[in-house]
């Protein structure tokens, strides 16, 4: 989404659409990105519970991936992922494929 010009924005720094923070992409803030391995995941959903940015994508109650438009790369998901599963690994953003 192209950010609006000064002439187009509501005045007074007001936000007029409720919940529009979903449109605000914070993915560029990331230094490290979580990489998800579907083969290892046991779908305990700890990552989904702990993610502060609701960036874990679920489908039918199972983890299917990461919302990289909003994930800020805090690494909580990888930290909470049980050792026996180890389905989430933090990788430096510049090493991404």
């Amino acid at each position: 989404m192209k950010p609006k010009n000064w002439e187009e924005l509501p005045i007074g720094v007001k936000i007029l659409e409720p919940g529009n923070s979903a449109e605000y992409e914070t993915g560029t803030w990331r230094v490290n990105r979580p990489v998800f391995d579907a083969n290892k995941c046991i779908h305990c959903l700890f990552c989904w519970v702990f993610c502060p940015d609701s960036a874990i994508i679920l489908k039918d109650g199972k983890v299917v991936g990461i919302d990289y438009d909003h994930c800020k790369g805090c690494g909580i998901c990888a930290h909470e992922c049980p050792d026996k599963a180890d389905a989430l690994t933090m990788v430096p953003e510049h090493d991404k494929q």
Partner: protein, 427 residues
């Protein structure tokens, strides 16, 4: 101090409404305007010389003359914060302060303008500490001249009353939506009894109109977020919008002032020219000193000297074009600054006028400009001081010698001849 003639001797257009002639101090006159406005919320904290203004308004609240929610806060920081909260909620909110009070609320002052909340705040001008002083100069409001607020300076209690009503219309104009400071000189206006004309309550109600807030918080059917974090990707755009609002104010204020003139019979513009048409020398000044200058201009005109005055009524937005047009009628101009901009090339008004001249293509050969810092901490400015300035301007025209561009009027200074001159005059 004003040049308003009594109503009965003027031929007034039919649009002018009946008025009551009263004797009020500047503080009482502004409180009277606030009574007639009947704001939804007033949050205030007492500070000399603004205290009596809020005393008078508190009487109106206690006696049921207004329906205002009067919030007694614990500091000016809270006074402005409460006004911002009330204004964002959708209320017509007002406060008033002076000097250190304005300094304490400074952090929140710019939040009011950035959130585009049309709060109207009379500021009774008093010197900023230190050293501590309670008397008039303009250092308090000059300290937030770039805060995004509109600033209107008053020459008299009459103007302070009128400007308070006008300020509301300016602030709440949908294309402006900016907070407005109405200034009146501490003690000189705030505590001096003056004859003035008060519009009737109905006329004021009609003139200020009903307030329709822009996306108020209390409109729960249309939820709105006010005051969010604004990061590098949007902050700059919002600041540019504030500039646009100042430009809109510059464009729209003359019409609002004119409309007030049709109702009150008191015609105002963003600047006031006094005896400028054939003036060779001119003084530029803000506030009550304009009255003193007018009186001296009258005397000097009787002596056949071509002197004039340009009073700046609206300091923010700065009336660049109007000032260049008015001041280029003269050949030498003295800008009187009632505050110092330390480390700057001159006083704040002087700096902006020289900058406006440069932008307007006016060369120093066309109009010479001097700066006089005066009246700090309530130092009296006398007729003889103003005469002295006109004398110096005329000397400058005849000799072409400018000397120092920045001078100090009424300062005890061992090196300056003016002391001797003034002593001579005062004998």
């Amino acid at each position: 101090m004003t040049n308003n003639k009594p109503l009965e001797t003027l031929e007034l257009p039919a649009t002018v409404r009946p008025q009551r002639v009263v004797a009020l101090t500047g503080n009482e006159a502004v409180a009277e305007a606030m009574r007639q406005i009947d704001p939804d919320v007033v949050a205030a904290y007492p500070i000399t010389p603004q205290t009596e203004l809020m005393h008078a308004f508190a009487d109106f609240v206690a006696n049921g003359k207004v329906s205002t929610e009067f919030v007694l806060v614990e500091s000016e920081h809270s006074a402005m914060s409460a006004s911002i909260g009330a204004s964002a909620a959708g209320a017509r909110a007002m406060t008033a302060t002076s000097s250190q009070g304005l300094a304490l609320m400074w952090e929140v002052v710019q939040i009011a303008s950035s959130l585009r909340l049309p709060i109207v705040m009379p500021v009774v001008n008093r010197a900023i500490s230190g050293p501590i002083n309670i008397h008039c100069d303009h250092s308090d409001t000059m300290g937030c001249r770039d805060s995004g607020w509109i600033q209107i300076f008053s020459e008299s209690a009459q103007e302070a009353y009128d400007h308070t009503l006008i300020a509301l219309r300016v602030a709440e104009h949908p294309n402006i939506l900016l907070p407005v400071m109405v200034t009146l000189d501490g003690f000189i206006l705030s505590h001096t009894m003056e004859r003035l004309e008060i519009l009737d309550d109905e006329t004021v109600k009609e003139f200020v109109g009903e307030y329709h807030p822009d996306h108020p918080l209390l409109d729960t059917k249309h939820p709105v977020t006010v005051g969010p974090l604004d990061l590098p990707d949007f902050f700059f755009e919002h600041k540019r919008q504030e500039v646009e609002a100042q430009l809109a104010a510059a464009e729209l204020m003359p019409a609002i002032l004119k409309e007030f003139g049709t109702v009150s019979g008191r015609e105002y513009d963003v600047i006031e020219e006094y005896e400028m048409d054939d003036a060779e020398t001119a003084i530029v000044v803000l506030g009550s000193t304009a009255g003193t200058v007018k009186s001296v201009v009258n005397e000097l005109r009787r002596e056949g000297r071509k002197v004039g005055l340009v009073k700046i009524r609206v300091f923010r937005p700065f009336p660049v074009r109007d000032l260049v047009r008015a001041l280029t009628k003269a050949e030498a101009v003295a800008v009187l600054d009632r505050s110092i901009a330390f480390g700057s090339a001159g006083g704040p008004v002087f700096d902006e006028i020289r900058s406006s001249f440069f932008g307007g293509g006016v060369s120093p050969a066309e109009v010479k400009v001097l700066n006089y810092i005066y009246g700090l901490g309530g130092r009296d400015v006398k007729d003889s001081d103003i005469r002295f300035v006109y004398d110096e301007l005329e000397t400058l025209l005849h000799t072409g010698e400018t000397g120092s561009a920045v001078r100090y009027l009424g300062l005890r200074d061992s090196n300056v001849e003016q002391v001797a001159l003034r002593l001579e005059e005062n004998q």
